[in-house]
């Protein structure tokens, strides 16, 4: 397929690059390098989070049996390889904490916010490159601290990733002292990193779009990252405040959440979920944005309903602030409040449904290429639908009475966070890998990884709906204590075996990622024949991205445009007047 714009293949730079290795790759202010730094850090934490999941699954599948190879674990965690309730409860807590804060959030926002925003809007870098660097290097100690918590006396935090007070506010209740405090401090530090980052992304998108890149010519990935950044900016400080108050209750003797002198346990929940619900939209919105970009590319068709998609993102971002009470229906808060939260929660299903239908509309009438990113994007749509539909059950307050704190919830959250966000991340990493590293990931390995992950993923999480419907509670170390849960041992074992196979399948992705970096096929500037600005510069782009500021003439996603017969895609930088061999006066809109 011929392309129109002549990509800049040569390394044209205005000045010679005299930066040292440390300036270029360690304390770099280049958004692309910082994005890759976040990528490496997050993938490491994703692995740790996955290993913690294996601990959880082992105990649930084979209660009180020694974990194979478990004797490497210390006596305080698993004597003779048998997982202790202490370790199990902190594994459950840390799996959630690490996956949410150190894997998914940085993968979506830290990696792609950094890497894509300047490239896709036509800017040479972020608004504040040094603050950008600070944002990464503040996240690193937060991560180190969080890992350190596993090695302190008393073990790591064990009050759930939601850390409800008073359980989390007084070491007397969990037996955990330093671990919970480390959890608090680490999140406060990470919060600072997130706030600096989001401030940077928002400022960059507002003030540094290249000429011609109007708001309604931004790709949906950028719209999603922009709205997500606003959510991060406004929600994370609430978490910071709450965690500070929790830490003070623990170490300073304050009484915010301890009832003895008038504190309110429910205050913690309101604060946490007022942050927590926007947080889960932070964990899905960028994924939706990437999926839009990839689906349109794979279908070779414009995204269906671009404006509706933008408004839906805005609606989700806005409504996400007024649904937090749906995590607290059974908390003892006023039932009337419960009803009002149910209404807003039911309504937030609508913009998500709109997006799903528009993705289907994008596929309709297309000419679909099943490259690896496309497979992951399609899986996102399919799995997100399941996750979204399961949400309707819990939005109904009476049904929630039954399914709250059961595995039905665990199924729902994993369908949106893994089936949704993680598949989108796999797709986005594969899609933008050539731009990041100058090489392609191996497509055969990619396809095998996709199929295995998709199959095992569903075998792990779909039956959790059933577990929940039978009443299986969350966060319990040994379900066999309850007679009504004894018959579910076989299902738990099946899920565990599938989970181990799922984890093992990720080795393919890890291998592909690492080996392709050194031995992957060299990537051209635009391997996916895409319309975005990032594909008009070499893979990887030079420092500064372009020798001169690009000018934008087209909306995004102009695939198979009737204005253009020479190629099946029209880059955003391509003026219709300047198509080689043509003298038509096609107007860009």
């Amino acid at each position: 397929m011929t392309s129109l714009a002549t990509p800049v293949e040569s390394h044209v730079q205005a000045h010679p690059d005299n930066r040292s290795f440390i300036q270029k790759y360690i304390f770099s202010t280049d958004h692309k390098i910082i994005g890759i730094q976040f990528l490496l850090m997050s993938l490491l934490f994703l692995t740790v989070g996955g290993m913690l999941a294996m601990i959880i699954r082992w105990q649930l599948g084979y209660p009180n049996k020694p974990l194979p190879g478990g004797t490497v674990l210390p006596e305080t965690m698993a004597p003779g390889g048998v997982i202790l309730p202490e370790f199990y409860t902190s594994a459950v807590t840390m799996h959630g904490t690490i996956m949410v804060f150190f894997a998914i959030m940085p993968l979506l926002v830290g990696v792609f916010g950094n890497f894509l925003i300047p490239l896709k809007i036509g800017a040479p870098d972020m608004a504040f490159p040094r603050i950008n660097m600070a944002s990464f290097w503040v996240a690193v100690p937060a991560g180190i601290l969080m890992i350190a918590g596993f090695f302190v006396e008393g073990g790591h935090a064990s009050a759930g990733w939601t850390s409800y007070a008073p359980l989390s506010a007084d070491p007397e209740y969990t037996g955990v002292t330093a671990g919970q405090r480390i959890w608090c401090v680490s999140l406060i530090v990470l919060g600072l990193s997130s706030i600096l980052g989001s401030m940077n992304y928002i400022t960059t998108v507002i003030n540094m779009r290249a000429p011609g890149m109007t708001w309604f010519r931004l790709p949906l990935s950028i719209w999603a990252l922009f709205i997500t950044s606003i959510l991060v900016l406004l929600a994370i400080p609430i978490l910071s405040g709450a965690v500070i108050m929790l830490l003070f209750d623990d170490v300073l003797g304050t009484h915010f959440f301890l009832p003895a002198q008038g504190g309110q346990p429910l205050l913690w929940q309101h604060l946490f979920w007022f942050f927590g619900h926007p947080e889960v939209y932070i964990l899905i919105l960028p994924a939706m944005g990437f999926v839009s970009d990839i689906l349109s590319n794979g279908a070779r068709k414009p995204i269906f309903g671009y404006h509706s998609m933008v408004y839906a993102l805005i609606a989700i971002g806005f409504l996400g602030w007024i649904v937090w009470g749906h995590h607290m229906f059974q908390s003892g808060m006023n039932p009337t409040l419960g009803t009002s939260f149910m209404i807003s929660t039911m309504l937030i299903a609508v913009p998500s449904a709109i997006k799903v239908f528009n993705w289907l509309g994008t596929l309709w009438g297309g000419k679909i290429r099943f490259h690896v990113p496309m497979m992951h994007a399609l899986a996102f749509v399919s799995m997100f639908v399941i996750g979204g539909l399961s949400g309707v059950f819990m939005a109904s307050t009476p049904v929630d009475i039954y399914i709250h704190d059961t595995y039905f919830i665990v199924a729902h959250l994993h369908y949106v966070l893994f089936g949704g966000s993680l598949f989108a991340i796999f797709g986005a990493v594969t899609f933008w890998y050539p731009k990041m590293f100058g090489r392609m990931m191996n497509p055969t390995l990619g396809k095998i990884h996709f199929v295995l992950t998709f199959v095992f993923y569903n075998l792990v999480f779909f039956p959790m709906h059933q577990l929940g419907l039978q009443g299986h509670m969350r966060r319990i170390y040994d379900p066999t204590i309850y007679d009504f849960l004894k018959p579910l041992g076989g299902l738990n074992r099946f899920i565990t075996i599938s989970a181990f196979l799922l984890f093992a399948s990720q080795l393919l992705f890890a291998y592909n990622f690492i080996v392709s970096w050194f031995r992957g096929k060299k990537a051209p500037a635009n391997p996916w024949e895409d319309t975005g600005l990032e594909w008009t510069t070499p893979s990887p782009p030079p420092h500064g991205n372009w020798p001169a500021t690009p000018h934008v003439h087209q909306p995004p996603y102009e695939f198979n445009s009737p204005h253009v017969k020479e190629s099946d895609f029209l880059p955003q930088t391509q003026s219709l007047d300047a198509i080689p061999g043509r003298s038509s006066a096609g107007a860009a809109h």
Partner: protein, 227 residues
């Protein structure tokens, strides 16, 4: 009971039926949506796959389609919401506790349930009350209202067979009610992570026929009086 079933396990309380019916309604609606979307997705992938000679139907969207797929989900969720709101008020509404419900006090603590029964005066809070650990005895066909609080951390009173779940919070006294419909024994578990022993914070709920209950109550009061 087939663990892979979408059917709910048997229940034994008056409002369980309302909850279960709502669940099945949502199951049907979401089931239809699920089938339509997934089948549509697969069909499009097959029909519109890249083949030589395929032309793309270039379009930016359709306002009519947007209106339809905005209106239909909105109407659907509003209906589900209205039906749910009604049932919610009947179960958890502050005014929903039936008259003449039998009062019981529950104290949740790490890691057991203390159940306080009224003495002969018929109300809790008196010196003639007695407390038993991890056993909740109630008569069939009679509403029971529990005043619940916790001593230390947040727990959750959870009897799946009654479709009843209520967080129990230290510093608050929360009321929850139910009316059992079938004699038998059922399990009560904690449904809010409350520490290391959370997984074994189990109690037994025994629903008695009325005369059996009266017998049990007499014996229990005697035993307490003797202590």
């Amino acid at each position: 009971m087939n663990p892979l079933s979408w059917m709910l396990p048997p229940s034994a309380s008056t409002f369980a039926g309302d909850i279960d019916r709502l669940y099945y309604l949502i199951l049907i609606i979401t089931g239809i949506a699920f089938v339509v979307v997934q089948v549509g997705l697969v069909w499009f992938l097959i029909k519109y796959r890249d083949r030589p000679g395929r032309t793309v139907h270039y379009t930016h969207g359709s306002v009519k389609a947007e209106v339809i797929w905005t209106a239909v989900p909105t109407v659907t969720v509003v209906i589900i919401g209205l039906l749910s709101g009604r049932v919610w008020n009947q179960i958890k509404g502050r005014e929903s506790v039936p008259e003449n419900a039998l009062p019981i006090s529950i104290l949740a603590k790490q890691f057991e349930w203390h159940v306080t029964y009224p003495g002969p005066d018929g109300v809790t809070g008196g010196s003639d009350d007695f407390t038993i650990r991890n056993q909740l005895h109630v008569p069939v066909g009679r509403a029971v209202v529990m005043s619940m609080t916790a001593e230390d951390v947040i727990h959750a009173f959870n009897v799946p067979a009654f479709r009843l779940k209520q967080d129990v919070v230290p510093g608050m006294t929360i009321r929850a009610w139910f009316q059992a419909t079938e004699p038998g024994t059922y399990e009560l578990g904690c449904a809010e992570l409350c520490g290391l022993g959370h997984y074994r914070m189990r109690a037994v709920v025994t629903v008695h026929a009325q005369d059996e209950y009266d017998q049990w109550m007499r014996t229990a009061r005697q035993t307490t009086a003797q202590r």
